[in-house]
């Protein structure tokens, strides 16, 4: 068979992404039709920049979804090697293709004869799974610590700010190297850190509901029992994994096991991100606590946590949402950095950082394996930045 021309490759790639296009068009059609009833999300569709950003982000989210859940889009197994396909240029026909195999390596083969296109698609799954969740955890930690630090001030603020500056003064890569090397992972330090960091969402939710329904025990008590019970179970199955240092839940009760490498990467990314979130939340709390509605709540006799979580927090949601988008982008970059230095995730993992790292060694001879993941990462981060910009513009407009 003849190798494909560039035009053919582009057409075939576009066809390969068909489910994503359909999902994107459906999302946009629905959202634009009902945009007046959708609040801030709907207003996003008034700004062209926000729409472009949203489209880029949703493109990768849908790609990850279809690839991760239904195994669509990718043409080959991201880990499968086919002999004779090593470092082949884009559009090379698959050697010895059988019926049911996709007949081409659309973006060529890498130095281990794996399909670059499928690895790029599979890499999106890793990013879309880890980045938003890690950012969310970092926000939980940052909010739970930043609100009281800003609201109370004093010693608490001094100590917490010192700690956050301490982490921020660390060069990120040195921190990663110290946390993610196999020797340190063996000692279980990342598992203990996970134990501490993952408790913050539970604390946050507990305080959130307790401060709201404090005066109505008949709602509060069952609500807290159900929510906290569920979250604690998830927490325990998160941190306990058979074979690691923490193994508290017996096998059948353990809902899922996080692969060791992913957990370590997750923990270190949350750890690096949370001091910055803490600083932002603290600054916002300092600013907002002098407002009249806070004084009014104080005069009404509301508790401090009610004021922090139900008066201050909803009123600083604008900057926080914008920062959340930006921070997912930053987390994506951090994940790429980890992969680039070969830290954490297993070396054959298809995530974008590792693939770039694989491809860079032969870059001056075969640039094609490193470029697709590089552009993929760039487009996702660009999408998130544009989305944040659009959101900022629209939220300032009210």
């Amino acid at each position: 068979m003849e190798p494909l021309s560039w035009g053919d490759i582009i057409v075939r790639v576009l066809i390969q992404f068909t489910p994503v296009w359909i999902a994107l068009i459906a999302t946009f059609a629905l959202s634009i039709t009902f945009k007046r009833r959708l609040g801030l999300y709907g207003k996003l569709f008034d700004s062209p920049i926000g729409m472009i950003g949203f489209a880029l982000v949703m493109f990768w989210v849908f790609t990850a979804l279809f690839n991760g859940m239904f195994d669509m889009i990718a043409t080959h197994d991201p880990l499968g090697q086919v002999s004779g396909m090593k470092n082949k240029v884009p559009g090379t026909p698959l050697r010895g293709a059988e019926d049911g195999d996709y007949a081409y390596y659309l973006f060529g083969g890498d130095n281990l004869a794996r399909d670059v296109f499928s690895r790029m698609v599979a890499g999106s799954v890793v990013v879309v799974q880890v980045a938003p969740l890690a950012t969310l955890f970092a926000f939980m930690v940052g909010i739970t610590l930043g609100l009281p630090a800003g609201y109370y001030g004093g010693m608490l603020d001094t100590v917490l700010s010192f700690l956050s500056n301490l982490i921020l003064a660390f060069p990120v890569i040195l921190l990663f190297y110290l946390l993610v090397t196999p020797e340190i992972v063996d000692t279980g330090i990342p598992n203990y850190m996970a134990m501490v960091l993952f408790i913050f969402p539970i604390v946050f939710t507990a305080v959130l509901f307790n401060s709201r329904y404090y005066t109505q025990p008949h709602i509060r008590t069952p609500l807290l029992i159900v929510v906290l019970g569920g979250m604690s179970w998830i927490y325990l199955s998160l941190i306990s994994a058979s074979g690691s240092v923490i193994n508290v839940l017996p096998g059948p009760l353990d809902l899922f096991d996080i692969p060791g490498g992913v957990l370590v990467v997750f923990v270190s990314v949350v750890f690096v991100n949370s001091p910055t979130v803490y600083r932002i939340v603290r600054g916002l709390a300092l600013d907002v606590k002098t407002r009249d509605y806070v004084a009014a709540a104080q005069t009404r006799g509301e508790g401090p946590w009610y004021i922090m979580l139900w008066e201050i927090l909803p009123n600083v949601r604008g900057p926080l949402i914008v920062d959340f988008c930006l921070r997912i982008g930053y987390t994506t970059i951090l994940l790429g950095t980890l992969g680039f230095f070969g830290l954490g995730l297993p070396p054959e993992s298809p995530d974008w950082g590792s693939t770039i790292n694989d491809g860079r060694k032969l870059l001056s001879v075969y640039p094609h394996p490193a470029l697709p993941p590089a552009f993929a990462l760039m487009s996702l981060v660009l999408g998130l930045n544009l989305l944040a910009d659009g959101l900022r513009e629209e939220s300032l407009r009210d």
């Binding site: 890569i173 000692t187 870059l363 640039p367 544009l386």
Partner: protein, 348 residues
């Protein structure tokens, strides 16, 4: 002001102490020490041999004592073996034990020896910092003027076509981390597959003689990522200044537009970016590590990767001291500079 600087320096020293202690304890965990013993001794050591090697070399002392020895406030360890030969932290190989100093830590200027490079740490750090300093200087020379020009041009007419296109460029550059832009630039300009071959894909030769061909790509790779951020800050502060009352007055007086921008707006618009530029140094450090690895330029960042990858304890500690001091110093300078540039701020 004096008190303020004094307090900041105090906090700085405390932070540096805490950070080095964290690095110290993480690098001195038993699995790391075991690896060290096996690389220094031989790989097939039994567990007992590892323990005795570690004891003999003072690695199994309690952590605070070892940390004190490294700083130089606790006497260095000594050990007498069966033949009566005395070895110790402060005793050079072959030197007379009686003449050796009691204390030898960083306070005495003794930074130890690197186990990877087999050289004194102080020498390694000095040469590598020199290389990186040159790289940083070039990056700053490209990045700062470029970012300020883009920011000022974009911010002087908010919403114009120049503004929109320049803002898009700066968002694009903040969305491209060094390992992405570096890879793309090498593939475009240095690979035989594309055939442009304008520049070299490695900067190893730039350590002896840097020229445009081997040094442009690493410099532009770091500069691009930081440039977008500074440009956006400059743009934001420029648009704010351009809507202020005194600019309107100047316009109503009939001052020409270039004059307004250059004489009235620019000075006030550059206050905010100054802080941002100073706070970029820690980020640059990050970029330097990536770019030096990518382009094989053997500077500070490259050394960090080597030291961290091989758990070279004393080299890692020295690296963290240096980088922490750089980070905290730039924070201090940015605070002080801010006060000088903006007379409305007073530090009480």
């Amino acid at each position: 002001m004096g008190l303020f600087i004094l307090r900041r320096v105090g906090v700085m020293i405390l932070t540096a102490l805490c950070l080095t202690f964290i690095v110290f304890s993480l690098t001195n965990l038993y699995p790391n020490l075991e690896k060290l013993a096996k690389t220094e001794g031989n790989f097939r050591m039994s567990d007992e041999a590892v323990t005795s090697w570690l004891t003999k070399n003072g690695h199994l002392d309690p952590l605070p004592i070892k940390f004190g020895q490294w700083i130089g406030v606790v006497p260095g360890w000594t050990n007498t073996d069966e033949d009566g030969k005395i070895t110790g932290r402060c005793i050079e190989r072959g030197a007379d034990p009686a003449e050796a100093a009691t204390y030898c830590g960083i306070l005495q200027g003794h930074w130890g020896n690197s186990s990877v490079f087999k050289e004194p740490v102080a020498d390694i750090i000095a040469t590598r910092l020199g290389h990186t300093g040159f790289l940083m200087l070039c990056v700053m020379l490209v990045m700062v003027p470029g970012a300020l020009i883009i920011g000022v041009l974009a911010g002087m007419r908010e919403g114009s076509r120049t503004d929109r296109s320049l803002s898009t460029v700066s968002i694009l550059s903040t969305a491209t981390p060094e390992y992405v832009s570096g890879v793309i630039l090498i593939a475009l300009f240095a690979s035989s597959a594309v055939g442009l071959k304008w520049f070299k894909g490695t900067a190893t030769s730039a350590m002896e003689s840097a020229n445009f061909e081997n040094f442009f790509l690493p410099v532009i790779t770091i500069a691009l990522y930081g440039m977008g951020y500074i440009a956006r800050m400059t743009r934001a502060s420029m648009t704010e200044v351009m809507t202020s009352q005194y600019i309107r007055t100047a316009r109503l007086k009939g001052v020409s537009f270039p004059n307004i921008v250059l004489k009235h707006a620019l000075r006030n618009a550059l206050i905010a970016p100054f802080t941002v530029i100073m706070l970029q140094f820690p980020w640059l450090l990050n970029g330097v590590v990536i770019v030096e690895t990518l382009f094989n330029y053997k500077g500070f960042g490259w050394t960090l990767v080597q030291a961290a990858g091989n758990n070279d304890i004393e080299l890692l500690l020295a690296i963290s001291v240096v980088s922490v001091v750089v980070v905290l110093l730039t924070q201090l300078i940015s605070d002080i500079g801010y006060v000088f540039l903006n007379p409305r701020i007073r530090i009480s």
